[in-house]
């Protein structure tokens, strides 16, 4: 490794300081939030001795528990569907050529780059126009709430899952798949016994990511949730706007821990490819 272009002297020091600053900036607020969630004070940013009262309040509040269970249901359902659709999309783009492929590829990027607010508006108007139509056509009895929120979450999660799975497929040798085909395996058998086991880490990573995003979403959910239906982030957002209480600290920290856990698992899952 050459060191002739490595910064020296004050430049090197400045780079190090900036590096530490970035990590401080990322993590100090999170650490402070966790600390204050244990503070026995009515004021959210003041330390008043250690207590677990706020966490107890959170788990005692039936509203919060209801919102939490809604969030979990929606996250699980939307993740399953978006993993199936996203993986299929990734396979089609990485292993096949077909008409309209380029358009499909571009379309998949749309949910990733579209601003949240615009997507929320799109979904609101879409359900406003189509829920009755769908109801009349299929008699699904769709109501705003679980279905509208799940459908919206699937819409943005398909893209994220497909990006992660595609990365896995792109970094994979096709030799084994070709060998399987040469040995008269059907396309399906080649997938089932050769490709699939290899992309499991990608699928797991994508699934955890989808779950995280579903559990985090505020804006879109707020727009499409019907009356009486709320998810945990929307519930918290409402609380924050009414006035900040230490209860929110406790709920936030819980959400933060779950979200970080899923992210770390997702990163670990995606990294499996390097060792295996």
């Amino acid at each position: 490794m050459s060191t002739s272009v490595e910064p020296r002297g004050w430049a090197k020091a400045a780079l190090h300081v900036n590096g530490w600053f970035v990590y401080m900036f990322f993590y100090a607020p999170i650490v402070l939030l966790v600390i204050y969630s244990f503070s026995n004070s009515r004021n959210v940013g003041t330390w008043g001795g250690f207590t677990l009262d706020w966490y107890r309040d959170f788990f005692d509040s039936s509203n919060a528990r209801g919102a939490l269970s809604n969030s979990v249901k929606i996250a699980i359902f939307s993740t399953i569907i978006s993993v199936a659709l996203g993986t299929m999309a990734a396979l089609s783009l990485e292993r096949f050529t077909f008409r309209g492929k380029k358009v499909f590829d571009a379309l998949l990027y749309l949910p990733i780059i579209i601003p949240d607010v615009t997507m929320a508006v799109m979904m609101l108007l879409f359900f406003g126009e189509f829920f009755d139509v769908l109801d009349a056509l299929f008699g699904l009895g769709l109501r705003k709430g679980f279905w509208s929120i799940s459908i919206s979450h699937i819409a943005f999660n398909i893209s994220f899952v497909s990006v992660v799975v595609r990365a896995r497929l792109a970094g994979m040798d096709t030799d084994l798949e070709e060998a399987a085909i040469d040995l008269y395996a059907s396309r399906w058998k080649a997938f089932r016994y050769v490709t699939f086991p290899q992309i499991v880490p990608g699928i797991a990573g994508g699934a955890l990511l989808a779950m995280t995003l579903s559990l985090d979403d505020v804006v879109i959910t707020q727009f499409v949730a019907g009356p009486g239906w709320t998810t945990l982030p929307v519930y918290v957002f409402g609380l924050i706007r009414k006035g900040v209480t230490p209860l929110i600290n406790a709920v936030s920290v819980t959400m933060l821990v779950v979200s970080m856990l899923l992210v770390v698992l997702s990163i670990v899952a995606q990294r499996v490819r390097r060792s295996g």
């Binding site: 490595e6 607020p29 292993r95 050529t97 579209i114 601003p115 497909s162």
Partner: protein, 300 residues
């Protein structure tokens, strides 16, 4: 032709036919796999975007509903009203400031990352990724706690003797929240771009007696341009449409485009106007992204 042909020509004519059929079958399979997601996206993105487009030409009736008959451009005309213009300018300005601050912090950081050993680098990257995907609402709320009355920041500034820092509900707080939220969006593409640069080019520029600054200006920075542009788009676009951050950290005087659009739908009940604004926002996003891809950008 019915004449007898030699066997090898026969196989030669048969093969393309066979291959074509195989290709067609492959193509069908690919489309079949893509179809569910394809339809889903067309349904929920193309059609719903079209509905937003149609709504933007409609009229709000007296009851806060929307009349779809009698199309007009009134909603778009309202964009030139002073109040709306203020919101737009403020949003663009704050999004711009946010992008610049992110760039200034992220560039040296991304370069620093690229000079670390691979093992160290991977660990460092993971610690950038974690906040990247962690709950955005909660991360903004953390700043509400820090900046609040009698919060840690005020206590710290008072302790040092700077008086109480009253940042909450100001534009500064909003920018702070946006930078905090979107900094990883700048770091990751910048790192990807800088890491790809051939170190020998930098060495060559130093060998030719270029100063550190000259090597940066004429070699490193131009070569890292794709990352700079990708990161800037990824920070600028969501900042422009930000809703959660200004709601939590901003005040009444810092209404931004995102919140303004939401107000049109949930409070003012002027859906056509809200639709027009979100369509404009969408257009800004699409145009910047397309320009970026046209210029040869690849990392998003």
């Amino acid at each position: 032709m019915k004449t007898v042909v030699k066997t090898d020509t026969e196989t030669a004519t048969a093969t393309p036919e066979f291959e074509k059929a195989a290709l067609r079958q492959e193509s069908r399979r690919g489309l079949f796999l893509a179809l569910p997601a394809y339809l889903y996206l067309i349904f929920f993105f193309v059609i719903s975007l079209f509905i937003v487009f149609i709504y933007s030409f409609a009229t709000r009736n007296r009851f806060g509903g929307t009349d779809l008959s009698g199309w007009n451009l009134d909603s778009y005309a309202r964009i030139s009203e002073p109040i709306v213009r203020d919101v737009l300018f403020r949003s663009v300005w704050l999004a711009f400031i946010t992008t610049v601050i992110c760039l200034v912090i992220a560039y040296p950081f991304a370069y620093f990352l690229s000079t670390r050993r691979v093992a160290v680098r991977n660990v460092m990257l993971v610690f950038v990724m974690i906040p990247f995907w962690t709950n955005f609402l909660v991360r903004n709320f953390a700043w509400r706690v820090i900046l609040g009355n009698d919060g840690p920041l005020t206590n710290a500034t008072e302790f040092v003797g700077l008086g109480s820092a009253e940042l909450l509900f100001t534009q500064t707080a909003v920018v702070l929240g946006l930078v905090y939220g979107y900094l990883p969006f700048m770091i990751l593409p910048l790192y990807a771009a800088i890491e790809r640069i051939d170190r020998r080019l930098l060495e060559a520029s130093r060998d030719l007696y270029g100063t550190g600054l000259q090597s940066f200006r004429h070699v490193l920075f131009p070569l890292s341009m794709p990352g700079v542009i990708a990161g800037s788009i990824l920070v600028f676009v969501p900042s422009l449409g930000a809703y959660v951050t200004p709601e939590i950290l901003g005040g009444a005087k810092t209404t931004l485009l995102g919140s303004y659009i939401v107000t049109q739908f949930l409070t003012a009940r002027n859906w056509p106007f809200g639709a027009a604004l979100s369509f404009v926002l969408m257009l800004v996003m699409l145009v910047t992204t397309i320009v970026y891809f046209r210029k040869g950008g690849r990392t998003l």
